[in-house]
Symmetry: C2
Subunit: 214 residues, 2 copies
């Protein structure tokens, strides 16, 4: 069965969670899983999983479930994770340090290739194995290493200027930790990591539960 | 006009972004804004903003726009941010340090009141003004300070056990940085900060643009 409809972004955002769960299963030595079991691990219904995967082909067999390794490989291929994507990080404050040291960004298709900061005192310092470079080097590193993915961890006031630089140099997808919405061309992907906004969306519910607001 | 329908979670998640934009406007000395102008700052249509706000009453006047300060105060009241919510953080590695030092968690309705780590070598160290405490103190701090919000920044393998402890002590909303889906009771809110999954959802699109996958 060929499906003509295109998966929505919500579906695409769930695929990395499926892949991660499958990796955990493999680590646990589990080689076969039903959509039911997989769903319970990620709080998604079995029907949703089957529907999401149906956009990309036929997986699993009725009554047998999915071959964990095969499905994982397939999802990684769908997500483009069979290659390693070079990533640059701009802003190496406390948050940037934590990002630079997090091995999730040097794994599973990602590869941190450059750290940049505007503070002259930081230039040349090593974070893990990578030296912090000056902004003046940004363009060349992006070009030479064919970087299309970047992480912004600078203060809000500088984030737009940094994004402009990145895009001008060829970056096409930005993960932005700065608490500001970026203005970017239509062919650039931007996603936000915004923990304070997320907490604020939960206080809404807590305030109602607690009777502070009705 | 009283509306009976309840705003969806997607609406609630946008409210903090409106509030932040309004705060920026106030900082810039701007006291009146149209839904058009506000929308352009956060990549939301003017119609969407008007619809979102209509769940909570009547704001703005036709042709005049919103009074920035009034609307901000109103949204903060809706989000429960006129009080300060005590927050605890579990896990003070590189990421936890960055979180503990980020003033976004000590502002606008949030107030970091306790840092916890399982590593005996860290206990007693100060991060900013707060000492790192042992897990043994968790229950008492949560009870005494009436904490209902917690941030988890421990490795994936410990996140579920930490969540269980938090919930048993009275926490009702968790911001989870660990790359694992938590199993929690229905009356507990959990949100995830998952930058690697977010990057992986962008490589999907980049791989197709670049011709690596069709």
């Amino acid at each position: 069965m060929d499906r003509i409809d295109v998966p929505s972004d919500v579906v695409i955002r769930r695929l990395p969670l499926y892949a991660r769960s499958l990796r955990y299963l493999l680590d646990e030595g589990i080689h076969s899983v039903s959509s039911q079991e997989l769903g319970e691990r990620i709080n998604v219904t079995a029907a949703q999983i089957r529907k999401d995967l149906s956009y990309f082909g036929e997986f699993g067999k009725q009554g047998i479930g999915y071959d964990v390794e095969k499905l994982l490989n397939h999802i990684e291929r769908i997500l483009g994770l069979t290659q390693r994507w070079p990533v640059v990080l701009i802003g190496v404050g406390y948050l940037g340090q934590a990002i630079a040291r997090y091995d999730g960004f040097n794994n599973q298709g990602l590869h941190m290739v450059g750290l940049f900061d505007s503070d002259p005192a930081k230039i040349g310092q090593l974070v893990g194995e990578l030296p912090i470079l000056a902004y003046a080097r940004l363009h060349d590193v992006i070009r030479e290493q064919h970087v299309r993915l970047a992480i912004i961890a600078v203060p809000a006031t500088y984030a737009q200027a940094v994004a402009d630089m990145l895009i001008e140099s060829g970056v096409r997808a930005i993960l932005n930790y700065a608490p500001v919405i970026l203005q970017t061309p239509d062919d650039v992907w931007v996603r936000y990591i915004d923990p304070v906004a997320v907490l604020h969306s939960m206080t809404y519910y807590l305030a109602r539960e607690g009777g502070e607001i009705s």
